[in-house]
């Protein structure tokens, strides 16, 4: 199958690649770029595990083709905090025990990071709305909600 050339910014670095038009963005990130922190749970846009930021907005990478990010900036879990550090949302998930198996976690972190960067004082409802785009089968969500509130408090200049 004919391949198309794409250029993108990935976690702040310029990258270029040749991809088949039908290659999913999720598979491009995981298999071609070998960034395996983005997980695939359903491949039909429901579970949210594959969420990455495209030009700052959360997107389900299983519902996009790689060619659609030509010229865009893509951010994955690997780029969400400086090497060796936990960002505020990651730190909150750890402290509030907002994770168990960790498979859905990167997706939650990406969506919540996007929300809190844009509106650090997001309301409880806005937070719930953002979290509800993701499925978790381990935690029962209680501690995820708590982690989100903790992250908001920190990113909004609080504790």
């Amino acid at each position: 199958m004919a391949e198309l050339d794409i250029r993108l910014t990935l976690n702040g670095e310029e990258r270029s690649a040749s991809v088949e038009p039908r290659l999913l963005l999720s598979d491009f990130i995981r298999h071609s770029l070998r960034l395996t922190g983005t997980h695939v749970g359903c491949e039909h846009g429901v579970c949210g595990a594959c969420t990455v930021l495209v030009d700052g907005q959360p997107q389900r990478s299983c519902l996009m083709f790689a060619v659609q990010v030509d010229g865009a900036s893509v951010e994955t879990i690997e780029g969400v905090a400086p090497e060796g550090e936990l960002g505020p949302v990651q730190q909150a998930f750890h402290e509030a025990h907002g994770m168990q198996c960790g498979f859905c976690t990167p997706g939650f972190i990406m969506s919540l990071t996007a929300l809190l960067r844009e509106s650090p004082g997001a309301s409880d409802d806005e937070i719930l709305d953002s979290l509800s785009g993701h499925l978790c089968r381990c935690t029962g969500y209680v501690n995820i909600i708590e982690a989100a509130h903790l992250a908001r408090a920190r990113m909004n200049g609080g504790a």
Partner: protein, 791 residues
């Protein structure tokens, strides 16, 4: 002074950081050089004769390396034979003399397909994309056979047969009686009889199943990475099916994204992917997609109970009768496990003298049902707890009060039910205070103020569910504790984590038992190469079994280290203290001999090493429990039901739980919360639906609805933990408990909310359309009644 114990402390998880950076290593993250990918053609029909499978077209497709049909697979590997499922302990045989039929499962069928989604052919290609392209070029000819989906219809004399040589569809059958049930029913003050159905739903972990297999080109050893709860069992199974000596085969469960029982089974794809790697001498990977998971991974829960209770005027339950039909799906891979769990949890926390139970598990043309968090208990608890509420209404007694009157009291512990557990031991509840749990749950839910908000349009209801849970079933788990010369402590165990936080909790146990710092302990599980014997993480068993195995091994290491340290320091072992990984003579805390130095002293490099001592400071232990420990819980749901729309809103959910001694309260509460949410999902949203032709009509997450953060109620947890006397740590298992209560508690709450409309809840899930139907039916029945009375 003895250091503060770590058991009981909310030590932060050591697992998290790596996972939060996106550096977890799940099966699909493992991609050896030159790895091929598999895709499976699956049956579109629920029951059909396979006339012809022609993979020639696929073999010519781009990137395709191989294609296998059933005949080829059968020539290379035997069928899946679940020998363990055939084992019936002698005391179980004496108690209920069960019929247990277990059929071999072909990895790819050659004669017949028996459920939609069953794999029929496998293609191996350079990528999954190319493998899936090629599936469309496989030609299969089927001849339709009659289909049976409903387990009760499968019992009819003219039902289509899944295993024609059996003569019927019954895979498991047994009866049990104790006391004088007939006399009790004949003389009871009040009796009730109801039919309750537990609907089918499933684990649906966010990571689906997956397997990567690779043969070492130099020594032909096979390594399999699998998203599994039981890597050691899978090793033995694959070794048998593929003709390997078990120690030439290593199975690793790396990071696993949730399991909940579903990944405790062995599947055709596990054998087929390993087989392909062996035949092609290249690594092969298969990761299940979600449609495959919903159709082909194991399901749970489907049971019908025709249940009766007899009670005296004082509300004492005198007898219980239950006729249970369990839907096994197309294969019974695990034999007695789930139906027998349903049986041994029917009496739950209640003291009931006379019992008459009939259990039948039947084959149908549906996906295989197998243990899913609770494994037979939520089904049984749904029936019994619903029946108790119906009895309470009949007697005009408060349902919580009626429960309390019938519970086994703390002073009756240990309490023998008269049943024999699946492990062959008499069923004896080891410890607990069930009435105390009930009172604690009632106090915790504090529903009065919510109930007061009830209106005719939005009715508030409160529902209870109480249960016991046999946790930590045998036969064994293994562990090995080793102190390295630098002081690093490596703990290997036979279980595997799917997110439970074993690396944290098992390190807490080790640190206390060995007398070392938590930071110096590294826990390694999920790898048959790490420790030769193992059983796996299923059945709420790892804390009880691996935990006690580790504690035993660590105590042995400590004792041996003390003996050698005493020689090194030329004092008596009794005069030594151990804290933070170093020995000190009593009264001289300044003199320290680190454990690592003791380990180094044993090194074969040390010319002064004591003769005859093993070279390692290590000990292994196999923990074999006498029987299970009994965890217990009481759940209370508070719901609001919108009468116009039928919408059920879960306002508050309270749990009072007994899981014995708690190792890490944060992790324990996390397990309960997660289990409760899976139960809530089953009660309100999730249902696997087959049509009459055996087509799965809920084949994606657009139809199979999992709860999200928006559906999370206010959750209140209370503990009343009574240590188990059965094991040195005093622990009971808790992985499954949370999922057992919600379907019953929520059903009882919905019925309570709609009680004066005459609604009786008999099956879930309680989505708006079902609840509206119940209200409408009750109104019609009520009108008919009025008309009859009037005429």
């Amino acid at each position: 002074m003895a250091p503060e114990p770590l058991i009981g402390r909310a030590v932060p998880r050591v697992e998290d950081e790596r996972l939060l950076w996106g550096r977890g290593r799940y099966v699909d993250d493992i991609h050896p050089e030159g790895c091929l990918e598999a895709a499976f053609l699956r049956s579109p029909l629920a029951h059909a004769r396979v006339i012809r499978v022609d993979v020639t077209g696929a073999l010519g497709a781009p990137g395709v390396v191989a294609a296998f049909d059933g005949a080829q697979a059968a020539a290379l590997a035997g069928p899946l034979v679940f020998d363990m499922a055939r084992i019936v302990p002698e005391p179980v045989r004496r108690s209920v003399d069960p019929l247990v039929r277990v059929q071999p499962m072909p990895s790819l069928p050659t004669e017949r397909v028996t459920y939609v989604g069953q794999p029929v052919a496998m293609v191996i290609a350079e990528s999954r994309y190319l493998a899936e392209d090629a599936l469309q070029l496989i030609d299969v000819e089927y001849e339709d056979l009659p289909v049976v989906v409903d387990p009760e219809l499968a019992l009819e004399p003219d039902a289509p047969l899944l295993e024609p040589e059996w003569g019927d569809n019954v895979a498991i059958a047994f009866n049990f009686r104790k006391g004088d049930p007939d006399g009790a029913f004949a003389n009871a003050h009040v009796t009730i009889e109801e039919r309750f159905r537990s609907h089918r739903y499933m684990a649906a972990p966010i990571e689906t199943r997956g397997v990567v297999a690779s043969v070492d080109p130099f020594d032909s050893r096979l390594t399999v990475w699998a998203s599994s709860q039981t890597p050691h069992l899978m090793r033995d199974f694959l070794a048998g099916a593929l003709g390997y000596a078990p120690d030439r085969l290593r199975v690793v469960a790396p990071d696993v994204g949730g399991g909940f029982g579903m990944k405790g089974s062995i599947y055709p794809e596990d054998v087929l992917v390993a087989l392909a790697a062996r035949e092609l001498r290249r690594p092969v990977k298969w990761v299940e997609d979600r449609a495959e998971d919903l159709a082909s991974s194991t399901h749970g829960r489907e049971q019908v109970h025709q249940i009766e209770l007899a009670a005296g005027a004082d509300g004492r339950i005198l007898a219980l009768r239950d006729d249970v039909v369990h839907n096994s799906g197309a294969f019974t891979t695990l034999g007695l496990v789930v139906p027998y769990n349903s049986f041994t949890h029917l009496l739950g926390p209640y003291d009931i003298e006379s019992v008459d139970i009939r259990m039948r598990a039947v084959l149908t043309n549906t996906g295989v049902t197998a243990p899913f968090r609770g494994a037979g208990r939520p089904e049984t608890v749904f029936a019994v707890e619903r029946a108790i509420d119906r009895l309470a209404r009949e007697l005009g007694v408060d349902p919580a009060e009626l429960r309390e009157r019938n519970m086994v009291r703390a002073d009756q512990m240990p309490y023998a039910t008269g049943l024999v557990y699946r492990d062959g031991a008499d069923q004896v509840y080891d410890s607990g205070d069930y009435p105390g749990l009930l009172r604690k749950a009632r106090e915790t839910v504090d529903a009065g103020e919510l109930r007061a908000q009830s209106t005719d349009e939005r009715r508030i209801g409160v529902g209870y569910a109480a249960y016991t849970e046999g946790t930590g079933v045998g036969p064994f788990e293994s562990a090995r504790v080793r102190v390295e010369p630098g002081g690093h402590v490596v703990v290997s165990y036979g279980g595997a984590s799917q997110g439970q936080g074993h690396r944290t909790t098992l390190a807490q146990i080790t640190a206390d038992a060995l007398g070392v710092r938590f930071e110096d302990v590294e826990v390694r599980g999920g790898d048959s190469g790490e420790i030769p014997q193992g059983f796996g993480t299923i059945a709420s068993r790892t804390l009880v079994l691996a935990g006690n195995a580790i504690a035993e091994a660590a105590a042995e290491v400590r004792e041996r280290a003390a003996r050698i340290a005493a020689e090194m320091l030329e004092i008596s072992p009794d005069d030594l203290e151990l804290a933070d990984g170093a020995f000190s003579p009593k009264g001289s805390p300044g003199t320290k001999l680190p454990l690592g130095d003791v380990a180094g002293f044993l090194s074969p490099f040390n010319p002064a090493r004591p003769k005859g001592e093993p070279a390692e400071l290590a000990a292994g232990s196999i923990y074999r429990p006498s029987s299970v420990t009994y965890a217990a819980g009481v759940h209370v749901a508070v719901v609001a039901v919108d009468v116009a729309t039928g919408m059920v809103e879960l306002l508050r959910y309270a749990v009072a739980h007994d899981c014995g001694r708690v190792v890490n309260p944060t992790i324990a509460d996390g397990q309960i919360a997660g289990g409760v949410m899976q139960g809530i999902g089953g009660a309100l949203y999730e249902e696997l639906v087959y049509d009459d032709a055996g087509q799965l009509v809920t084949g994606s997450f657009l139809d199979y609805l999992l709860p999200t953060a928006s559906e999370t109620p206010e959750l209140r947890l209370a503990h009343m933990d009574v240590p188990s006397p059965l094991n040195p740590l005093g622990v009971k298992g808790l992985g499954e408990g949370g999922a057992i209560g919600p379907p019953a508690a929520i059903a009882n709450a919905v019925e309570d909310a709609l009680l004066d409309l005459g609604v009786v809840v008999r099956e879930g899930p309680f989505g708006p359309s079902r609840v509206r139907d119940l209200i409408r039916e009750a109104a019609t029945a009520g009108r008919d009644k009025v008309n009859t009375v009037g005429s």
